[in-house]
């Protein structure tokens, strides 16, 4: 899979970026631009009648020609996730939805049962479903079978910065599913994103690692490079790991 395609749309960048938690709107905008990401996530929340900031995230992302990927963050049931997805489709005019159904507040791990149920309904309702899921190969396979447009297993808990905690599972998932595989959550720094890509992921979705970095814009640049480097390394094909050395310089013609 050379091209990165979601729902018939081809993307040049394999980095998907979140819009939450930046020091301010200006830094967020600059970080997103620097990251080169073409897909940005947003959440759907109640309108605040006291909000006079005038910052319109939707308008900003749209002006920049970005694909807006609404999420169902904060939903604990399939029912809430489905309603949120429908509100997002109506508000933003997109059928793309990152389906997140959380099972536990402390770990923010997905509730697989609710997730599968929400994904099934939303696929039937014509949504392009991108599910945030556990790094469990069977769940990922089921999500693909349901008709999800991608699978997005976590590398580690959301915002934890723990990196890719189970690279072997990600590798198995890569072998099992044909749809785009995007690591979503857990990335802490550039090497984590590179590792995900080296494992054969089609993309990486991250937010906190950039937003909460000491210098978000610089980290956005690092992530862009890491995703590109990791992808190139995957395509190039790494050498096998060996316990002992193999000399790289010639073994013949030595001075005696």
């Amino acid at each position: 899979m050379q091209e990165f395609k979601i729902a018939d749309q081809t993307y040049t960048s394999r980095l998907l970026i979140g819009t939450a938690g930046y020091p301010n709107f200006h830094i967020m905008t600059e970080a997103i631009t620097t990251s080169g990401a073409e897909i940005a996530t947003v959440s759907m929340r109640r309108v605040k009648f006291t909000d006079s900031s005038g910052e319109n995230l939707f308008a900003l992302l749209r002006e920049r020609g970005m694909t807006i990927l609404p999420n169902t963050a904060g939903c604990f049931t399939a029912k809430d996730a489905i309603l949120t997805a429908n509100l997002a489709r109506e508000a933003l005019g997109t059928s793309l939805i990152k389906v997140e159904v959380i099972g536990d507040e402390e770990t923010l791990f997905p509730d697989v049962e609710q997730l599968l149920s929400a994904a099934e309904t939303l696929v039937k309702d014509g949504f392009t479903v991108l599910p945030y899921c556990n790094d469990d190969p069977i769940t990922c396979k089921k999500l693909e079978d349901i008709g999800c447009a991608a699978v997005m297993p976590l590398g580690a808990p959301i915002g934890s910065g723990m990196g890719i905690r189970n690279p072997y599972n990600i590798q198995i998932i890569r072998d099992l599913v044909q749809v785009p595989l995007i690591v979503d959550a857990g990335v802490g720094t550039a090497s984590d994103a590179a590792i995900a890509m080296e494992l054969g992921c089609d993309g990486v979705l991250l937010n906190t690692a950039v937003a909460k970095a000491h210098r978000p814009v610089l980290m956005a640049e690092a992530m862009k490079k890491a995703v590109e480097a990791g992808r190139a390394a995957f395509l190039a094909g790494r050498i096998p790991r060996k316990l002992y050395a193999t000399a790289s310089s010639p073994q013949t013609g030595m001075i005696e």
């Binding site: 309108v47 009648f49 749209r62 999420n71 109506e90």
Partner: protein, 68 residues
């Protein structure tokens, strides 16, 4: 009559439609990026004029915010 908007009680005129409610709330009904649900059912923009609210209607008005 009394309805709830985004979880808060509000007194509005009898059988107000969604379009007019948004104007009362100083929200531009033609702006992109907002959606409305009444009693957990999404009401498409095209039906805002025609959809009248009832006593105790639960209205949700949502928009995109920063998220991950």
């Amino acid at each position: 009559m009394k309805i709830r908007i985004n979880g808060e009680a509000k007194e509005v005129r009898l059988n107000i439609n969604i379009h007019d409610l948004l104007i009362v709330l100083e929200l531009n009904p033609t702006q992109a990026g907002i959606a409305v649900a009444v009693d957990r059912e999404v009401i498409p923009k095209t039906k805002w004029q025609a959809t009248e609210l009832r006593e105790n209607s639960e209205v949700e008005i949502i928009r995109a915010v920063q998220g991950g």
